[in-house]
Symmetry: C2
Subunit: 418 residues, 2 copies
């Protein structure tokens, strides 16, 4: 081995997805997509690379100044690997708002980057579903995005007892700021402190340092006293009618991003195994004004892959890996290769996923490979099969065999797999 | 409008995918995936961010020095947004080669970045399918990746007359270098010159400047004389037997990447509308040695979205846009909203994609929105429907109406849509 050989490690804090890992990613993404589509959401996407200015005013200072991947391109433009989707969505809507029928329902699944210390539930590249309703200020829209999130969780096999949807309202927070006399310029930083309240040991000290003892205690006491609002009760009733039974009002929920203006929610693992919220979202009615556009009301959420994997694992909801191939053709002798290839091609036309074993190893080794790859069926193809037109389909897990003609193979596989 | 409002433009050279654009992306990706799966390829992925060293020796100097997005992260690591997939694939295989049953078939669809001047067929962020067989040096593997590429093209509805698969062999090129006396250290740059030969006006001058008049003309005359090899003829025969009738031997094909060692191929639009190759690939048997690993033979190709869109457009193969929603429920009066939501939820359970119109506009406006969104069916839900349990399903393109009960709606839709 040469001394300057390259490392096989990926970049720090990101993940390689080997086939069994990617299988799980695709499982998660397909369930997310399918639920979104059943609710009428249209897929969209933007580039991973955005002008840095897009995030400067509204994402959150911490993310942009300390956690973003920002650099200057060869043309001296300052660019950022997107840390979240909402600013790109707002940019796209603002750019074509006249052509887009509203309210619009949009979703996307993409990757995002944050420069964080890698730890449980946090990586530097994560994947996230974003689903939003743009152009409706109705409480029905607030309820719908929560119901959609609930449907996705249920589609993974989660029970309502496994997770809890905690909902609050930024307007309640604004009222608390008014009542406690928190100045407008202190509110963003205070909101982010409140967002981390449950995770901080020195919350009271930090809050007092920020607002002064009096205002800090007035704020905390206002918030502790305010356990619900008429709006939140109405939302609860609507969700109940839609079959969402695990929404609770929790006025401690604030969310970190600066752009929220109304309902905010976070979903928690009820097992207590994953202390941080699994995901969340909320209403942001003013984001389009950044682009010089009239405000357009919007509400949505982002649901990441990392916490979702943890959740599925905690609740034994991980799917068993199933390989792409339903059938491997093991080639007994090279002289039968072209016949095996032709058979494979015919079966593919009947929608059977077929891998032809190209190893040129002994039959036993080829069958062991199929087994190691968890491929359910094999057919050994040699001169005998080529000359007789009779093929023996073997189920590797049961050992069951059936001998039949080429045109009956797919029928047998589908009846067995189904 | 404030003077410092943000631009709604994306970063230069990248694309926003509005729902109708994303529909086409998904159409392309689904056809690629499905063909790969029918051939038994397993999905994988790696991060977009890789250590820059991964590309230094083998990708191509031009790409790394002039066209890559390379920067230093907050921890002083030099990182690159991947310009191609093969180095990541080789890294992953080298990292777990003992655990991976070989030959392995892997595919991925992901995004890539190159800093290029945006022009037709070239953008700074593109998407690409990569499909590879790792661990087989057999000509059957070479034939298979070409057959897979051919199947994908056919699955888009392309005819064999619409495209041409031009194949050559790097070993032929090596023999030409030997014969013409081209020194080992001049070969990489010469190969890249040859790769651009058809696009360059001053090819002969540049080649002579690189190799000297004598060697340059010896090389060109050797290559012009060599029209095929036994290997290429055998490949042609195998592909013919597999139903690939549009492969031709073209010894002018070289490919730009340094890592190819055997068969190389490029696919061209036969219409002449798109002069550059649509995509290509080849065999690279030594790439794993970069990681201090024994060589593992491998062959594959990359197929990008940008040239594929151009190809589909040229040949009138673009699919018509179909929205996610099969049905929109138009809400006649707010008092019927919760009933409409319940109906929507019931239909989703029967696998119907349903959007509920939240606009609170007049019925006519709601129907116009459904029509503008190209949603095929609507049901107007008001107090009458709620009280009678009878719903009128209207087909917006034919005007045909059918009145039925809630439990018969999905059956009617599927029989009409099918």
């Amino acid at each position: 081995m040469s001394k300057d050989k390259l490392s096989t490690e990926p970049y720090k804090g990101v993940r390689d997805f080997y086939p069994e890992d990617q299988f799980l990613q695709d499982y998660i993404f397909e369930h997310m997509s399918r639920a979104c589509e059943l609710f009428g959401y249209e897929a969209y996407n933007a580039s991973l690379l955005e002008p840095t200015d897009l995030y400067r005013s509204k994402t959150s200072d911490e993310i942009i100044n300390e956690q973003s991947y920002t650099f200057t391109d060869r043309g001296k433009r300052e660019v950022t690997l997107r840390p979240e989707m909402t600013p790109s969505l707002a940019r796209m809507i603002a750019g074509k708002s006249r052509e887009i029928p509203m309210p619009a329902r949009w979703y996307s699944i993409g990757n995002f980057f944050r420069y964080e210390r890698p730890q449980k539930g946090r990586v530097r590249e994560f994947w996230q579903l974003n689903a939003d309703i743009i152009g409706s200020s109705s409480i029905e829209a607030d309820a719908e995005v929560i119901a959609l999130a609930h449907n996705i969780m249920r589609s993974f096999g989660a029970d309502e007892r496994n997770f809890e949807i905690r909902v609050s309202d930024r307007r309640l927070l604004e009222a608390a700021y008014e009542a406690a006399g928190v100045a407008a310029e202190d509110r963003a930083v205070t909101t982010r402190l409140l967002d981390r309240r449950a995770k901080m040991e020195d919350f009271d000290t930090k809050l007092a340092a920020e607002l002064g003892e009096n205002r800090a205690s007035a704020l905390v006491s206002y918030l502790d006293r305010t356990t619900s609002t008429a709006y939140l009760e109405q939302l609860h009733t609507i969700l109940k009618a839609r079959g969402v039974g695990n929404m609770i009002v929790d006025t401690k929920i604030t969310r970190g991003f600066d752009y929220y203006t109304g309902m905010v929610f976070e979903v928690f693992d009820a097992s207590g195994q994953n202390a941080r919220s699994l995901f969340g979202g909320g209403r942001y009615d003013n984001l389009l004004t950044l682009f010089g556009h009239d405000p357009i009301p919007a509400v949505g959420f982002g649901m990441g892959d990392v916490t979702m994997r943890d959740f599925l694992e905690t609740h034994n909801l991980m799917p068993d890996y199933v390989p792409t191939s339903e059938l491997m053709l093991c080639v007994v002798d090279e002289s039968a290769m072209s016949h095996a290839q032709k058979l494979a091609q015919d079966l593919r036309r009947e929608d059977v996923a077929v891998a032809v074993n190209l190893s040129a190893k002994k039959l036993g080794d080829q069958i062991r490979q199929a087994d190691k790859m968890k491929i359910p069926y094999i057919i050994a193809v040699g001169e005998k099969e080529r000359d007789s037109g009779q093929y023996t389909v073997k189920n590797l897990s049961t050992g069951h065999e059936l001998t039949t003609t080429a045109d009956r193979i797919s029928e047998h596989l589908f009846s067995s797999l189904g």
